[in-house]
């Protein structure tokens, strides 16, 4: 078996007596300290181009997500507001977490034939794999709401009904994508 000899860097005298290195470290950290303090000060006086911190203050400020990131599900709608879903059960079948529950019903329109009577997703079980979106032949389910703050005090609260899925803004603190967008 091949072995790799790792050459550990030998500390020289000045590094071994700590003090010069400690001063170097202190220079770096206090450099940051005074620079950031100055920037915070300038910002407080209205010069907004200076930032003393890289913090994003989460609930108020949010980081823009890449458009293809998988976020909370939504069901797309037809022009009349009814779901595009034709209850083909593809997503329910492909879902590795078995968290999609669809009950189908008949629709008189011969072009559609079927539609979901109820469509529930248990987001407490969902693993955000996106397979449901891939499987859907009708582009009826998407994961592009950009909603990440999905939380609840109970398991039941993680069940999202068809109504919630058709109107993601109902349970959301924010919505970046228009649910009516085709």
């Amino acid at each position: 078996m091949a072995t790799i000899q790792v050459q550990r860097k030998q500390l020289n005298f000045w590094e071994r007596i700590y003090l010069p290195e400690i001063f170097r470290g202190l220079a770096i950290t206090s450099g940051h300290f005074f620079r950031n303090l100055l920037f915070h000060g300038l910002r407080a006086f209205g010069l907004k181009q200076f930032r003393g911190a890289v913090t994003i203050q989460y609930p108020e400020e949010q980081r823009p997500l890449p458009l293809r990131s998988r976020t909370r599900h939504r069901l797309t709608q037809r022009e009349d507001g009814s779901p595009r879903c034709v209850a083909c059960m593809m997503c329910e079948t492909v879902c590795p977490a078995l968290c999609i529950y669809i009950v189908a019903k008949e629709v008189p329109d011969p072009d559609i034939e079927k539609a979901p009577a109820s469509f529930d997703i248990d987001l407490g079980k969902c693993v955000y794999c996106g397979f449901c979106v891939e499987a859907c032949p009708e582009d009826a389910i998407r994961m592009d709401t950009q909603i990440l703050d999905i939380a609840s005090y109970s398991r039941e609260g993680m069940m999202y009904s068809m109504d919630d899925l058709l109107h993601p803004e109902k349970h959301a603190n924010r919505i970046l994508v228009d649910p009516k967008r085709p």
Binding site: L26, H32, L37
Partner: protein, 361 residues
């Protein structure tokens, strides 16, 4: 003793102690905010009172409230008495050590002489170090009485670390004591009011620069904070106060900050001229060819302000060190204490003695 000067001195001491305790509280905020600013973060800023955030200053109150309302847990097999008394010992001896710190020159008001110092004893320095040493009992007892292996390990580490560094801290300042010729802290500060070549203040840092670094290193170890926080060791053994919760833990927490302030004040007193202001004599400022006379009371108050500034500076400096260096390993810690600090301190004593002999005092 007259009533008036006694009352005045009591007031001064009261103000000083209030200042120390508020500074200790403030340091909890400073620690968070300073570390945040050093690391390009913002830091705790969520506590709000009536929509006011004040840079997170309310976190001090929030912390105190949290500590006071949390359950005061006592482990089932713990030694109840020792367990409850340990944090009190810890904070009590940290607090009374402040009594010997001279925070200003003697205040002259209407013919009265009011010393700005709680306890003007001629062994002030020894007194402070002995109080610090007794304070270690709090830590050891806490680790011992909790009946928890991890607390016990923390207590063991604390006792060996603190005893080792006490020796280093004690021997590092002997050179200073030899030069100043006194153990009285106020006398020490007065001696530092002299000048070399008429402009360089004869502060401890000038006459004993090596001792300053030895003292500071050993003193940081005494405060049990990073890089010497092995007794607490938050990431592995969780330290001697593992079983403590609520305000008893709060007392240990506060003790750390009080000791930080004490070390800052000691460093200022011993090495940076205490309440001395460069160029300021008893009757006003004196520069090379200019003078600006001031009344004696203004001089004293300027001295107090200078002492406060030095203390705050050293608190900042200790915080910077705490947020810059990683922690020592235990064997490195012991090696640093016994094979570096202690022999260097001894060498410092010998060299100081030799130089003093050569210069013939």
């Amino acid at each position: 003793m007259d009533f008036f000067p006694a009352a005045l001195q009591l007031t001064a001491i009261f103000i000083f102690l209030t200042g120390v305790l508020s500074l200790a509280g403030l340091l909890t905020w400073v620690e968070r905010k300073q570390s945040a600013v050093m690391q390009d973060r913002i830091g705790a800023n969520r506590a709000r009172v009536f929509g006011l955030r004040l840079f997170g200053l309310f976190h001090i109150l929030a912390d105190a409230l949290k500590m006071l309302t949390k359950e005061n847990f006592i482990p089932k097999n713990a030694d109840k008495f020792l367990y409850q008394i340990a944090p009190v010992i810890s904070i009590f001896f940290a607090l009374i050590a402040f009594a010997a710190i001279p925070f200003g020159d003697v205040l002259q008001i209407g013919g009265y002489q009011i010393p700005l110092q709680g306890l003007d004893i001629n062994v002030g320095l020894l007194y402070i170090f002995s109080m610090l040493s007794i304070g270690v009992y709090g830590v050891i007892l806490a680790g011992f009485s909790s009946q928890s292996n991890y607390s016990f390990l923390g207590g063991l580490r604390a006792s060996s670390q603190l005893i080792s560094y006490e020796i280093a801290i004690g021997s590092s300042i002997i050179g200073l004591v030899m030069i100043y010729g006194t153990l009285n802290l106020n006398e020490m500060v007065r001696v530092q009011g002299r000048y070399f070549w008429g402009w360089l203040p004869a502060w401890g840092i000038v006459v004993q620069p090596a001792a300053f670094f030895l003292f500071l290193t050993a003193a940081i170890a005494e405060t049990k904070r990073i890089p010497f926080d092995l007794p607490e060791g938050e990431s592995e053994i969780v330290g001697y106060f593992l079983e403590y919760s609520g305000m008893r833990f709060g007392l240990f927490f506060l003790t750390d900050f009080l000791e930080t302030i004490l070390v800052a004040m000691l460093a200022a007193t011993l090495f940076f001229g205490g309440w001395q202001v460069p160029g300021l004599a008893g009757d006003g400022f004196h520069f090379a060819n200019a003078a600006w006379p001031l009344p004696s009371i203004a001089v004293t108050l300027l001295g107090v302000a200078s002492f406060a500034c030095k203390t705050v500076f050293f608190c900042w400096f200790l915080m910077t060190i705490r947020w810059t260096l990683p922690r020592f390993r235990y064997d490195q810690l012991m090696r640093l204490g016994w094979t570096m600090l202690f022999p260097l301190a001894m060498a410092n004593i010998v060299v100081t003695g030799g130089v003093m002999l050569l210069l013939n005092r």
